[in-house]
Amino acid sequence: MNPAIDAPTIEYGTLAPLLIVFGAAIIGVLVEAFAPRYLRKSIHVPLTLLSLAGAFALVLVQVLRGQVSTAPSAMGALAVDGPSLFLWGVILVLSFVCVLLVNDEGHFVASAASVPGSADEEGAESVDNGSGHTEVYPLVLFAVGGMLLFPAANDLLMMFVALEVMSLPLYLLCGLARRRRLLSQEASMKYFLLGAFSSAFFLYGTAMVYGFAGTVSLSGINHALSAGSGLDPLLLIGLSMLGVGLLFKIGAAPFQAWKPDVYQGAPTPITALMASGTLVAAVGAVLRVFWVGLGNLDWDWRPVIWVIAALTMIVGSVLAITQTEIKRMLAYSSVAHAGFLLVGVMATFGTAEQNAVSLKAILFYLAVYGVTTVGAFAVVTLIRDPGGEAGHLSRWAGLGKRAPMLAGTFAFFLLAFAGIPLTSGFFGKYAVFAAAVSSGTQPGDPIGGWMVGLVVVGVIASAVAAFFYVRVIVLMFFSEPAADGPAIAVPSMGTVAVIAVSLLVTVGVGLYPESVLGIANDAASSLFIR
């Protein structure tokens, strides 16, 4: 028993992006507390954007300097390896773009506490512009911080904390919509309750695994597994419970139920953030847990994930067909995409290069899908009725005639979702499917054929999915405009920038995917730290 506790070593350089984001978040809170109301926004906006940009810059620096750490940082709590850095970069870009959307007027309630329709709400409205509460920004920053932490967490405890840090602000953000506040609050409550519920499962799973392995560090678990002390039910229960928590976050069937409601109810910029950033982070975490932690257990989890992946793709695409609300439809489409990503997760086993291939595929997919999603939601924010965004699809009829550019852009995003060639989405899909097939054809894989089968399910699902994307295009271009069509809001600079960037990326990557693929390749080549 030596009393001296040696102080933990923290690789500040490596963790700098995290620290900046969290730091900025805390400053944001202080600003909320002390800065005069009329100043806050003008402080928050640059603060938030700069912190995100700065974090991104630091990520870049690490990559360019080739300082990608190959060992866990912060006493093994975090693993800032190639994939993490890539995911960080993606998350930071996406959240930066989302913040630009957040800046746009009129998405967020002036004062969340005020009762809808009550006098004080009116009052808050009347002294609008700068007078509104600005807690949005620090909340977003905390959420982003959580997102960064989530995929980098190297032990389950850290992952749980990250999960909560990411989720809690989002629960709140969901409830801050300015229009249709009842929906917004309902969404927020549902998200909160279900989120908490699922994270409880995650935690219980952690406990079980801890009970089995005697540690919560992924590498430790992996070690314990390779030590091969039989298949302890503890472990299996734990595994499933962890799975519940994670799959809930990426919205895989049968844990997808929250997605449409929350996506519809939440303020659109936040929906964009969840649909892009959260998904990226969650998938990263899933990969880390299943591949780093439970890599030696793939014989057991792959069949299960197979079923879930197939189910998710089918449920997502089939249910989307009959949706009449654009955000709900996109929610279901994101469920379907989660399914496609799971196909990629299925492919991460076997030889090292196979891992790299599928990892690359997933990273690429996440990047391009995230960007397209943000773009799509950005367009959604612009189509407005007096009562707020014109969510109902019937309102979109004939948009192609009234706003050709906007409609064209949206159509292009939809085609990207559908995975039509010469859009980024196609290459994402191709990458994942190709990885799956190649993993399926690895020698000595008993369920290799099943992998190909999963891919076939995937293509059929995406054929079905194509239907509802195309349906929107039909509405926009082939139907006559409604007499009292929705107004096309004059977009703020920010929104314009968002749409432009997303379009640029979607087109550019569609024409020359190597641009992003190359990076994903480098990131993936140095696998997760095991």
Partner: protein, 98 residues
Amino acid sequence: MTTHYLVLSGLLFAIGAMGVLIRRNAIVVFMCVELMLNACNLAFVTFSRQVGNLEGQIIAFFVMVVAAAEVVVGLAIIVTIFRTRRSASVDDANLLKY
């Protein structure tokens, strides 16, 4: 020896889960979630005793903190909902569906 505790934690977890499924009042539902978390805590502590390292107990502390944070957020949300709808029943809030 420890199995009893595990069984207990399991029971607590189950009760919590059931509560979430059965109770209507948002507050109660939320409390049940807390109950599930505490079940986890019990499991952690037990296991930490079983495997003979302190991680589990440390985790328990973390969990409590997180739980506390959850309470803050949760109550805020529930209160707002209650103020607008004059009801804290989870079932009343189902405008979003299909």
